[in-house]
C-alpha cells in the first residue's frame, strides 16, 4: 500500500478529476497540488516529471520507494496501490 500520494492537477483537467475520484473510491488519502491555484509549483512538477502535463501522481510506498505515474491509467494505478 501507499504511504503518501501526491496528485498534481489543474482546474480544467477531467483526467485529474478522474484520478482523484479513483483514489476516493479506493479510500486512499492524497495531497493535491493544483497548478492553477499554486502556479509557483508548476516548475516543480516539470522538474520531477519532465512533463508539462497533468495529472502526475507521485506515490511513496511503505518502503519509501517512489513511483511516478503520468496520466490517468487505471491498471497502473491499481498495480501501484497493490490492488
Amino acid at each position: 500500500m501507499a504511504k503518501d500520494v501526491t496528485i498534481y492537477t489543474s482546474n480544467t483537467c477531467a483526467y485529474c478529476h478522474a484520478t482523484k475520484e479513483y483514489f476516493g473510491k479506493k479510500n486512499v488519502e492524497y495531497n493535491e497540488i493544483n497548478i492553477d491555484e499554486q502556479p509557483d509549483r508548476r516548475q516543480e512538477l516539470v522538474d520531477i516529471s519532465g512533463q508539462m502535463a497533468v495529472p502526475v501522481i507521485m506515490v511513496t510506498k511503505d518502503d519509501d520507494s517512489k513511483e511516478m505515474i503520468v496520466g490517468y491509467n487505471v491498471p497502473k494505478l491499481a498495480s501501484v496501490l497493490g490492488a
Binding site: 480544467t12 483537467c13 477531467a14 485529474c16 478529476h17 512533463q51 497533468v54 487505471v74
Partner: protein, 392 residues
Amino acid sequence: MAEKQVILYGANWCPDSQRVKHWLGEHDINYTWKNVDDGQEIVDEMLTKVDGTHITPVLDVDGEAMTNPDEAKLDELFNGDKESVKYHDVIAIGAGPTALAAAIYTTREDIDTVLIEKGVIGGLAAVTDMIDNYPGFEEGVEGMTLAQSLEKQAERFGAQIELAEVQEIRDEGQYKKIVTNDGIYAAKAVLIATGSDYKRLNAPGEEEFYGRGVHFCATCDGAFYRDKRLVVVGGGNSAAQEGMFLTKFASHIDMLVRGDHLKASDVLVKNIENNDKITIHFNTTTDEIVGKDGKVVAVKGTDKTSGEVKEFATDGVFVFIGLKPNTGFLKGSGIEMDEIGFIKTDKTLETNIPGIFCAGDVRAGATQQIASAVGEGATAALMIREYLEEQG
C-alpha cells in the same frame, strides 16, 4: 479441488437440459448423463432426489440435487474456488454519455446495471472544454459539468460505476463474461459504449515528446502554454473548438490543416477566422515534431500546393486529427466490426452476438455527437429491456 460426482437428469428435447449439458461441457466438467426418456426407473430415481418435483433438468452434485440451475448457480458450484464472478443484469463497458444515459433508463426500471470505465467518467465529453450544441443548455455547458450531472443522475437510480479496464468479453450463452484487470463480471446483456479516442499523427517526434510538448487534451495541458506559441494540427470540429480554447493561454497559434478548408461548424469557423491569435495554414501536412535539448522547438510541414517544406517555431503541439474507435480489447471476441474497427449492429443496436449491444461513438454509422450518443444510449436500454424480458 477433488473432482465432484456429477449426475445430470434431463431430456434431449428440453432446452434447459441442453443448456446445462453445454455449460458442463464447456467447463470441462465430467458428469453422468441420465436421459429421462430412457425409462421410468430413471424418472423415478430423479424424482426421489428432488421430492417429486417434475422439472428437468436435475443436477446432482456430490449427492446434493437441485432443479434447473441457472448460470450463476453453476458458477457458484463449480467455479467458486477458481474465480469469484460478480453477476449483474446489464454491464455497460464505458461510462460516457451513451452508457450513462442507458443506465439512467435501465436502473429506473430496477434493472441491475454496472458500468465499467477505464478512463474518465463522461468520456471524451468530459475532457471537452465547452459543449455548445447539446440541447437544453442555452449558453452551452462545460464538458466536465455535463459529465458530472449525467453521472449523478445515473447514480441516483442505482447505477454502479466500477473503475477498471476490460480486457475481454466471452460469450457463454445466457451469461456474457467480462474479464477486467479487477476481476470477472458476468451479465445477461452487455452494452459496448467505449466510444472513441483521438488519433495519433504517427510522425517522428510525436512519441518522444508526448506530454512534454505534444498533447491531445487542451483542457488538461493548455495551461502550461501561457504566453507561449503553439501549433494545433487538424481542421475539424475538435481542432477548431480546442484551438479556440487554447487562445486563452497561447500568445499565437499556427493551425496546420491538411485539406483546403475547415470541416467545422460555421460558428466555429467564424470564431477562428476572427481570432487574430490564430493563423491557419491550409494544404499543409505535419511531418515532424522537432525538438532541441528535450523540448519541442518547431513543427515541420509541407505545403502540398507548392511542395515547400515549412518550419513553424513553437513551444508545443496539440493534435486533433479525428477519432479512432476503442475496440482493441474485442480482438478475438467474434464481434463483427468494420474495416476501421467500429462495431456493426442491426437496427435494434444489437451486435452479431445476441445479448451484446453497442451504441454511441464506437458504433459503425454513429454521428459522433453527444446528443445522439445519449439518444442511442436510451434506445439501447429499451432494446436491452426487451431482450431481458424475452430471455425471462
